[in-house]
Symmetry: C2
């Protein structure tokens, strides 16, 4: 099975140009996993660049050439690209360790500038569909996007605007209805106006969408996020938790997508380095907040009715993502957007039954109560 | 099975007030179908109002009281309501005759004015999900809708606008991948500005979404629509066929939703009666254009791969309806909209695979070629 996946991955990969810079040592291996005197060999073309003080262990070649990233190691753009590419690898490796399937790796380029790496694990034993996408793009900001940002209070000088955006985005849909779906997304944005002023900010969040409510799981999840927030600002968690509940709202059904987490945008304080350390810490907290829930529930038995309920809730997930999600809208409206990377967030299967409503006092109704009326968890 | 469905229907129905006007004779029966000396008894509470020259055979009580419809029989509002309610019954009866399941009938009211009747057959043997909805609504036009109409050239006087809209809308998703999905929608719109000027128009269309291309089926379908169009205006078919191809376009994938049909809006010529007769004829042509395709293919064998392809294409159907469809957007943005009636168009099941692409020279690729580059069929 691993071999088949390997062949699929190789088919999807453009073979990288092997370059050795003075900073980096390039390791290329297509053999099965072996650990040999401290050097890891991976079952896919592997991109680990060793440096005394910068870890660069990636799923594919970085968008910006590696030696450039190292030369500009102190610029926020480089720090961000290295962070999201390391995080992508870390998340994918952790999920692969739980499944018999591996991630397909697609490196793509954007004609107008930049590119990305999309990793997808589909139809696995534990994960029905899991996507981890990074993108590093730049170019002229579409006028509609500029208007949207101005409406949020950005003070750009008039005229054409250039932008740079890098981020990691992921949705993990497990097969077992007792494991929630996880979504996280962390991004850095720069807009450069014609005066040369650079407007920068960070955004992101991590949120959980259970099919059945396990209060302990939800409490642990929120607690992990709160601990990260509290290390930076004791107002962050309560403010970003509310923002999350407000954002992931399926308006026409008057219900939240899930049990929330944290969500924020336009974070440009106290300074760029601290804000970066905050989102880096949020990224680092993804696995500790989620993996215990996966391992606890992955062998939980479930019946056909529970699976059907999961598929109905996945229909609601699709409704939110296609009707309301700002990221999906922004993505699909961006010229030459890679729609497959945007729509990888959609579940493998989803269901819509006319007027479905859970039985009174059922576990399904218990979940609905929380989605209709969000609770405090910590 | 029929009895179970009957019980479900009864649960969903508010028992009607039985009224006998000088114009109408009300038949109420909950027995199984029996034909008795020319009088049909139906397996659900039945709403047939007999009149010498007006047929009123409905799935539920009309939105406007029946005797009012008859008194105002020459007003366009009454003619339209009678037409769509008769058509709803005709379509539902024809589909039920092919399936072991029956339609659930939901009559609903809108707080701001008007209401509708939603009929849904779900999880049938032939039809996986079929919905036929009529609505007759009126009230104050939301400013966003007014702006959208003005942008299409409507010359309303400034100030608050009242509207009246009645229409029938239907999506039929069969189970067998060799039967296409059918969508049709016919509607009448009035906007009354503060001068008291009534701006009216008709809109609608019928279109086909196959999973496998059967050229004969598509040609017959288009031929039936063309014949209706040609009876009214020999320019209609070519113009409305192109409008349909342009409208049902999934922009981010650069493909059409299906093989088209006809689509038009803002039809206010040559006069209201002729325009009404045109959409009435279009409505009458729905069954002759579609039923032959259903009966021809309903016992066609199919395999798991064909079913999976159908589910993937249904994912595209969901994408179009939730991202682009003007009717869905208008509906979900209307305060107190009945979202279950709007979203009944979504399939029972849909699938999203990352980067799915049909095999070269396969039947699936044959369909894709037509969706990428629409053809002339008659």
């Amino acid at each position: 099975m691993k071999i088949l996946n390997l062949l699929r991955q190789i088919r999807h990969l453009a073979l990288p140009n092997v370059t050795k810079s003075k900073y980096s040592k390039y390791i290329f291996a297509t053999t099965l996993s072996v650990t040999l005197s401290g050097v890891a060999y991976y079952h896919r073309p592997h991109h680990a660049y060793m440096n005394n003080d910068i870890k660069m262990d990636f799923m594919a070649k970085s968008i910006t050439p590696c030696d450039e990233l190292v030369s500009n190691r102190n610029s926020m753009r480089s720090k961000m690209e290295i962070m999201i590419m390391n995080l992508q690898k870390e998340i994918c490796s952790a999920l692969e360790a739980l499944d018999e399937k591996s991630f397909i790796v697609d490196k793509w380029e954007r004609a107008q500038g930049g590119g990305g790496v999309t990793c997808v694990l589909q139809d696995g034993q534990v994960f029905e569909k899991a996507g981890v996408n990074i993108s590093v793009v730049h170019g002229t900001l579409p006028p509609a996007a500029a208007a949207q940002m101005r409406s949020r209070g950005k003070q750009f000088a008039p005229g054409e605007l250039q932008f740079y955006a890098s981020g990691i985005s992921s949705v993990i849909h497990p097969r077992n209805p007792h494991i929630p779906t996880l979504h996280f997304n962390y991004r850095y944005f720069e807009v450069i106006d014609c005066n040369g002023t650079v407007h920068w900010w960070f955004g992101g969040g991590t949120d959980l969408t259970p099919y059945y409510l396990d209060e302990d799981d939800v409490k642990c999840f929120h607690k992990t996020l709160k601990e990260v927030c509290d290390r930076f600002d004791c107002t962050y968690y309560s403010s970003f938790k509310k923002w999350c509940d407000d954002y992931f709202f399926v308006k026409h059904r008057n219900e939240r997508r899930g049990v929330g987490g944290i969500f924020f945008d336009d974070l440009d304080s106290p300074d760029s380095n601290t804000a970066f350390e905050f989102i880096k810490s949020c990224g680092k907290a993804v696995l500790p907040s989620y993996l215990p829930i996966v391992t606890k529930n992955k062998d939980h038995s479930y019946n056909c009715a529970e699976r059907q309920w999961q598929l109905l809730r996945r229909g609601r997930y699709v409704e939110f993502n296609l009707i309301y999600d700002r990221g999906t809208k922004f993505g699909l409206n961006t010229p030459e957007a890679r729609f497959e990377s945007i729509l990888m967030s959609l579940p493998l299967l989803a269901k819509w039954e006319y007027c479905h409503s859970p039985e009174p006092c059922s576990k399904e109704e218990e979940l609905m109560k929380v989605l209709k009326c969000p609770r405090d968890w910590v």
